[in-house]
Symmetry: C2
Subunit: 281 residues, 2 copies
Amino acid sequence: MSEPATAQRARRTAFFVSGGTGITAEALGHSLLSQFGDIDFEQVALPYVQTDEDARDALNRVDRAARQDEQLPIVFSTLVNHTHREILADCNALVLDMFAVFLDPLEQELGVRSSHKAGQSHAIRDEEAYRIRIDAIHFALDNDDGARTRHYEKADIILTGVSRSGKTPTSLYLALQFGLYAANYPLTDDDFDDLDLPEELKPYREKLFGLMIDSERLAAIRNERRANSRYASEQQCEMELRTLEGLYNRYNIPCLDVTDLSIEEISTRILAKTGLQRRLQ
Amino acid sequence: MSEPATAQRARRTAFFVSGGTGITAEALGHSLLSQFGDIDFEQVALPYVQTDEDARDALNRVDRAARQDEQLPIVFSTLVNHTHREILADCNALVLDMFAVFLDPLEQELGVRSSHKAGQSHAIRDEEAYRIRIDAIHFALDNDDGARTRHYEKADIILTGVSRSGKTPTSLYLALQFGLYAANYPLTDDDFDDLDLPEELKPYREKLFGLMIDSERLAAIRNERRANSRYASEQQCEMELRTLEGLYNRYNIPCLDVTDLSIEEISTRILAKTGLQRRLQ
């Protein structure tokens, strides 16, 4: 109703419907929708559909969008409950139902019936996994930005790189998603004076992983923080990065150019490059 | 080869094969496998399959597992490249191919061909989204554990709760996944003396969200940190939690019992309860 009557552009609404967090439905949906880059989707998450009434509410939301858009919405569903799936199936949309498609062949191959319980994959399954995860997050926080180096014995990996190359978000992601103990240590101007690794890092050379970044991109990021400073100048950025590259080479530190990468890509590529085993599946 | 010849228990290997990070394939796979709680799966991620050779390597890994397990592996694939999918299709496994199943109906409904490019969903799509995310992470770090309160104007949400109720991991997850500016403020013994909210929080009452936790569980978590301390005693935990509940009620602060919830569940339930709009899709 709030749409202006003159709005002509075709609009599509995509729903992610789930009995739990909706994370799987969203991952699946985003993956598929990203294959259609030219279409703008209005994205709506409908998690925690846990009662018949919730399912009917979801159905109504979808049908309302169908009327407003005058186009069929796309519904990505990971509902497992039979009744809820049947209720939703009546909606006026293209429903892509993950369980309908994949559960049958899996049951046949595995020779057992599935539990048909929702929200299994992002729920606490065991206390041990939860503990590892929380521990890893606190480790990343305590060992962020070279704050201290005395716990490096316990680190699975120590990220190094210049200021603003993505060390902190990557450390946190490695902790949250994979339960890894990730420290990070910034290499600054001071470290570059003698063109050598800081002494604190030398005992842990085999845990080091270097982040690299394009100098123009780095300058742009730094300019947002401190416009027109020496710190943000292209010359300074280039000098730091060239020195860094020399250090990585000299000490044979594996490294990755993160310029065009998301945090997820940086993290998963680090795992692939180092062969580091995650502590959480 | 390293398996003892006497090992009789049926083993299953599950592969997550992707041209990108593999995050979608894993989310899909974990969701489906969690429906078969009685079976132990050896889980293997095979991300960044980007060349024909990578695809043949993946095929060989799968076939080797099939021989070793003497059971068909399960392969969850989000490969989009046609050639790579054809190579993998020859493997000796149950292949659940997300794109094969869902892309056709989507193309038909949307009336366009998809781009068939891998790694679209967890790649940087625009600089703006990347900036929001990094900003939100730094906000969560700077405003962790009540470190400062002067930036609360900018906060989307301020989590409160007793020590060790999950405030920090939840703040970080909200930042990483949803780009939300999440601060957190611990309510401690000192705050409970006058049975009132700390003065710093009062101007931001409508941003507060309370975490609650079962007192036995809290005592167990705290005992791991400081065994047999007053801090970890059940009596102390109960007192803190009862006082807290009173405060939440008095100030009408929405709250959530996080006792049996994962970080993902806590975060997505907070969004559902508060109606807070994410800054990232």
